[in-house]
Structures are given as structure tokens and as C-alpha cells.
């Protein structure tokens, strides 16, 4: 049983507190998108800065000199990097509508699963990209198989954990919103990887996302995604 307090829709917070919140992100990054979900769930007003990762801005390099990556949250001039670290910071700074459970054990489990999902995603996403941007049939099949293998591990573990029983979408679900990128990308490219039959729990989760008022604001945009994958396909074909 998760302990979550009631979700109370609140007016935008930052305006009254004279705070400055900036998020450096990339439209196509699931890692920066999920920070936007967390900020919107908390009703925190923020300035979004789209980064060109080929030409990183001096600001980004200044705020994240160690990794030089997005997302970076800058709160009143103080930078925080690493997606899950940022999410915890958001939860600890704006305490209403908690994202993490209150009970220490439940909280620890949420952290454990969020890390598990992140680690798995790094195995899944390259396989998905391979499936979606390979010119050849064989490579596509290989990509699909590899992606499904890792998705299966995720499906098996998550199915047992009953994270999707409650009404609230919290830390684990926000972390798992990476999955929606697979679903939308496969639709865009007309390839079947994460199907309802093979992955009912993951499919159910993505449905929850698209139906949720906050999450659906951060779903990957269709047209730019089409353009992105077609460009990748084009680049691959040109290099062969």
C-alpha cells in the first residue's frame, strides 16, 4: 500500500515566492521531459531553455561542467544535474503533492525501482533506435528482438509490484514515463515493439500517461518525432 496524500491542484507557485526556476532540456529527451512532468505536478512555474546538444550553450557548460548534459535544473542560480537527483530535489523543495512516498520503506522501494527502470532504459532505447532506423529487415528484426528482451525484464518485474494499482502517478511512474517514448516512436515509424499482448502492464502504464492531464502535456510531439526519425534513417542510408 503506497502512502500518498491527496493530489491537490494548486495555482502556480513560483509567482508568489519570487523564485527563479530554469530547466535546460531537449525536446526529444525523455529525461528532461519527465522533469517537466514533476514541475507541472507541483505547479512550479519555470523557464524552459531548449539546448542544442551539438552546440552546447556556455550556460549549460557552466551549470553542468562535470557531464555537460541536460537536464539541468537551476533554482535561484543553483544548478542541479542528473534526472533522478533533480526529481528528488523538486520533491524536497516544493513539499505539496509529494512525488515520493512518505514511508521510508516505500520511499526506498520507489528509489530502487526508478533506478532499475533507468538502467534498463539505457539498454532498451538503443535497440529501439536500431529497430526504427535500420534500413535492412534483418537489423530491424534484431533491434526489435533486443528491445523486447529488455522490455520483458521490465514487464515481469513491474507486473508483480502493483505500482499501477493506485490513482496517483508518483516517483516511479514519472521515472517510467521514458516508456512512452518507445510507444510513440514505434507508432511514428509503424513498427511494433511494445505491444499490448506482449507487455500488458507496460501498455496499461502508457495509457495512464496519455490520459493524465499533466503527463499528456509532456508526451513527445508527433510531427517533430517523425522528422527526427526520418532524418536518422536518411543519415544512415546516406552513410551506406
Amino acid at each position: 500500500m503506497r502512502e500518498y496524500s491527496y493530489f491537490i491542484p494548486l495555482p502556480l507557485q513560483a509567482a508568489t515566492m519570487a523564485e527563479e526556476v530554469k530547466l535546460f532540456g531537449k525536446w526529444i529527451s525523455p529525461f528532461s521531459r519527465r522533469i517537466e512532468v514533476a514541475l507541472k505536478l507541483k505547479g512550479v512555474e519555470y523557464e524552459y531553455i531548449e539546448e542544442d546538444l551539438v552546440n552546447k550553450s556556455p550556460a549549460l557548460l557552466n551549470y553542468n561542467p562535470v557531464h555537460k548534459k541536460i537536464p539541468v535544473l537551476v533554482h535561484n542560480g543553483k544548478p542541479i544535474a542528473e534526472s533522478l537527483v533533480i526529481m528528488e530535489y523538486i520533491d524536497e523543495t516544493w513539499k505539496h503533492n509529494p512525488i515520493l512516498p512518505i514511508d521510508p520503506f516505500e520511499k526506498a522501494m520507489a528509489r530502487f525501482w526508478a533506478k532499475f527502470i533507468d538502467d534498463k532504459f539505457w539498454a532498451i532505447w538503443p535497440a529501439v533506435k536500431k529497430a526504427l532506423t535500420s534500413g535492412g529487415e534483418k537489423e530491424r528484426e534484431e533491434g526489435i528482438e533486443e528491445a523486447q528482451l529488455h522490455l520483458n525484464t521490465l514487464e515481469t518485474q513491474l507486473k508483480e509490484k502493483k505500482f499501477f494499482g493506485g490513482e496517483r502517478l508518483g516517483f516511479v511512474e514519472i521515472s517510467a514515463s521514458l516508456i512512452i517514448w518507445i510507444v510513440v516512436s514505434q507508432e511514428v515509424m509503424g513498427v511494433e515493439i511494445l505491444t499490448q499482448e506482449k507487455f500488458p502492464a507496460l501498455h496499461k502504464l502508457t495509457q495512464k500517461f496519455v490520459e493524465d492531464d499533466v503527463f499528456k502535456q509532456c508526451v513527445p510531439p508527433w510531427e517533430p518525432l517523425v522528422a527526427y526519425f526520418k532524418a536518422q534513417l536518411g543519415a544512415l542510408a546516406a552513410s551506406k
Partner: protein
């Protein structure tokens, strides 16, 4: 409870079915895995002598650096220990550079936690013990005192603390184990 890893106990497999690894903390029958997750749990349940700072920004920094050490220092250290030739040289170089980056997190303090040790000290201190011992075993420089004078000093102070001394594995046993392990790795490397 001591685990013998080649033959994992049924209890371990029951308590950590996902990764089947140690450490696992079982508190009132409920199991937790993943070292850093466990440390945060301990800090939240037993609230005296807090390990993490109170301020969210400083907590975020501590978590950031613990993740950095786990992802950037530890794998490089293991590669420097288990590889040979050019791969080993590159891994050791990467390790030394990443330790240099980690050093900046000290920010001129005695410990990462300030006057006393905290979350980050506990999360990364063991690297000093392991690296110092294994640079001898593997014949590669891991802790370059000239390159990281502050971190080098911190490793020394940390490992000398009585409370840490109590928790260190018996050094002669550890050395023997690591030598044996290294031999096995070298044999495996020779076969590939």
C-alpha cells in the same frame, strides 16, 4: 550475515530476487537492496547523527557525487584492475581523471560531510581502501597523490577513523582474496 557469493543462500535470493546481490538490509522482515538506497533508508529511519545534509540543494549535490563515483570511478577502477595492456592504461588514466573531478566536491572541507563524515564519505570512502591495495596487486597507479592531494589526504583520514576501522574487512584476508581474484582475471584475459 555473511554471504558466500558463488553459492547464494536461498534467503538472499528471496530477499533480492531482482539483482541477486549483496548488500541487502532486512528491517522488520522487509528487504532492501542497492547500497545507496539502503544508506538513505537508514538515514531516514534512524534520524540521529544525520548522514545527508538537511538542505535540499546540498542533498542533491551529495547524491550527484555518489552517482558520479559509482558510474565514473568504480567501473574505471575495476577495469584498471582486470584489464591488461592499453586497456588497463586507459582505464587507470580515466580513473585518475575522474578522481580529480571528485576531489572538487570536497570544496576545501575536511570531509565531504564537513567537519564529520556523511553520506558521500561513506559512499565513496571504500574506493580509497580498494584502490590503494589493488594498485600494488595490479601494478598500476590509481591514486596519484600529486594529482589529487586533497582527496588523497581525505582517503587517509577517512580510513584511519576508528568507526571506519571497525568496518573495514581484515586487510590481510582482503589482500589474499584480491591477489587470487587478480590471478583469475589475468588467466581469463590471457585466453581471450
Amino acid at each position: 550475515m555473511e554471504e558466500h557469493l558463488p553459492d547464494k543462500s536461498p534467503m538472499l535470493l528471496q530477499y533480492n530476487p531482482v539483482h541477486k546481490k549483496i548488500p541487502v538490509l532486512v528491517h522488520k522482515g522487509k528487504p532492501l537492496a542497492e547500497s545507496l538506497v539502503i544508506i538513505e533508508y537508514i538515514d531516514e529511519v534512524w534520524k540521529h547523527n544525520p548522514l545527508l545534509p538537511q538542505d535540499p540543494y546540498h542533498r542533491a549535490k551529495a547524491r550527484f557525487w555518489a552517482k558520479f563515483a559509482d558510474e565514473k570511478c568504480v567501473p574505471a577502477m575495476f577495469r584498471a584492475f582486470s584489464k591488461v595492456g592499453e586497456e588497463q592504461v586507459q582505464a587507470a588514466k580515466e580513473l585518475r581523471e575522474n578522481l580529480k573531478t571528485l576531489e572538487s566536491a570536497l570544496e576545501g572541507k575536511q570531509y565531504f560531510g564537513g567537519e564529520t563524515i556523511g553520506f558521500l564519505d561513506i559512499a565513496v570512502g571504500w574506493i580509497g581502501c580498494w584502490a590503494r591495495m589493488n594498485e600494488e596487486v595490479a601494478g598500476v597507479n590509481m591514486i596519484d597523490a600529486e594529482m589529487i592531494p586533497l582527496l588523497s589526504l581525505w582517503f587517509q583520514k577517512f580510513l584511519e577513523l576508528p568507526i571506519i576501522q571497525e568496518c573495514l574487512p581484515p586487510q590481510d584476508k582482503l589482500l589474499a582474496h584480491n591477489k587470487e581474484f587478480h590471478k583469475m582475471l589475468m588467466m581469463a584475459a590471457a585466453l581471450t
